[in-house]
Amino acid sequence: MDLFHNLAIGFSTAAQPANLLYAFFGCLLGTLIGVLPGLGPLATIAMLLPITYALQPDSALIMLAGIYYGAQYGGSTTAIVVNLPGESSSVVTTIDGYQMAKQGRAGVALSTAAMGSFFAGCVATLALAALAGPLTAAALLFGPKEFFALMILGLILASVLSSGPFIEGVGMVVLGMLLSLVGTDLSSGTQRFAFGVPQLFDGLDFVPLAMGIFGFAEIVKNLEQDDKLSLVTQKIANLFPTREDFRRMIPAMLRGTTLGTLLGVLPGGGAVLSSFASYTLEKKLSKHPEQFGKGAIEGIAGPESANNAGAQTSFIPLLTLGVPSNVVMALMVGAMNIHNIQPGPEVMTKNPTLFWGLIASMWVGNLMLLVLNLPLVGLWVKLLTIPYRYLFPAIMVFCSIGVYSINGGTFEIYEAAAFCVFGYVLIKLQLPAAPLLLGLVLGPAIEENFRRAMVLSRGDASVFLTSPLSAGLLAAAAVAIILITLPAIRARREEALQE
């Protein structure tokens, strides 16, 4: 079979010593930052992006991917032991995980999370491999108007799924797109919004912006709330779930994995959404909903499987269609650009070893994470005793050096400082930053495809509605908008997305 042949190529790439090493390094780092609250995969990947310049492209992507799904493992440890989400995708794990820890079953909760994540990781790897071919073939049918419609759908869904009012999410997307227009217009060579600053001719760099908003401004926010960590000090003994535990968690893991795999593919989806949706589903289906919030093992098994599956399958739209579905994927676009790889259907045909190697490395990485997390859990918990006042200057140092290394100049550092202030304004106004970044990343491609489609149709905008594929995609976006404005659904969404 083709699939197995491709996976064989992938595993031979992933098993190269250098790639194994970088996968391990990515998983280790991902676990580390996953455990630490206040430092997420986004800032970490942004920080390391310039440094990956020196690596082989496949090693670079394998490492960065490892950070993303590794963080899903690490985040659950903090959630269970300290009742704080190490990652936003493990918010729901705090609900039942910490309760289990208080009942002296922290070990069981941790191994449930790890086993769920591992199982989900395996399934998502296969899903990624199986879906990649057909979706890539579909992408080749896409012309400018279809890509335009697809990206509009992605941005609409991303705004629907971000926290806060939908219209403000859309506003952030449009603002991000406007910011993306800074720099040289490729068709006419005009400098737009650059004010004669040569560093802006190539556009606003994504990394300083992400670093300012998600690195520096987050720190200011975290410093405002000095909450004390309440560590569960008991020794973590007995990692093994009982037979009864297994009976309850296996169906939850299966459901969580399925849900996460599906929601990860959705533009705007990913780990966070999957975990919330899974928790709601488990609670709905359970015969004992009253146990939720008091240490129900399904409340860990489901969401922890879902977030890992979602993290991995969110690579599908990026690798096959070239459209990043969330902000971490947007950063992966940046990583691919550094190595002159155009994300999209051509990755699979032009760089098959990179494509399949990345997918295979995810399975290898999940295995490493299982080993890293369960026996070493005591070590990770120790990390949490480092006070934030020592931790955040370290984050600032790594971010600053990372930003400097983009071009070896100080301009990007000033840029990051400016976006720190801007990011703080957004936090205070409760405006979601993720749609802004997606708009920034997709903006140039949307303009380009819009222009090309309009040239081909001689200025007739109805072409977007007469082509069946683009009409279908735009209709889906319209349905999403209509649904979100219905009062009943709006209330449900607010309930599901509130943190």
């Binding site: 449009v174 603002l175 200011v220 990051a416 720190c420 202030v421 205070k428 106004l429 405006l431 905008a461």
Partner: protein
Amino acid sequence: MTGPAIRDQRAFVSGALFLGFAIFFFVMALNYPAGTAARMGPGYFPRLLAIVLAAIGLTVMLRAVRGTAERQALHRWDVKGLAWVTGSVVLFALLLFPLGLVGSLFVLIVVSSRASHEFTWKGALANAAILIVLCLLVFVYGLGLQLPVRPALFN
């Protein structure tokens, strides 16, 4: 009871922010030729986006003053924390070349540490020493990044 005329201040300011950006980009975009729909110039798409953003901004502002809007005040700002954090980054950029990596990192770490309520000189200095050594080991010797390690005077 009548409160302030603007019921949802958070949303109102958010809308005004959108509107402000929209006006700024629209006015700037007037400098670039718009072209026609079939042959768009560099000014076409920015104007279109700016108009959409202005409409969104106005809608958000109107929703904020509606009688049914939820009452929300603006959040308090931690100007001091923001100033220490942002200031330390700006200082790092200013001092990187004149002082070299070690000196500018020292300033970055000590100044940013002031943003914490639990700041102590002893802790910040010890942290600075550890982080500087770590950076030199990882970035300069380990990864071989091109960083200005020595002060400009010695080059």
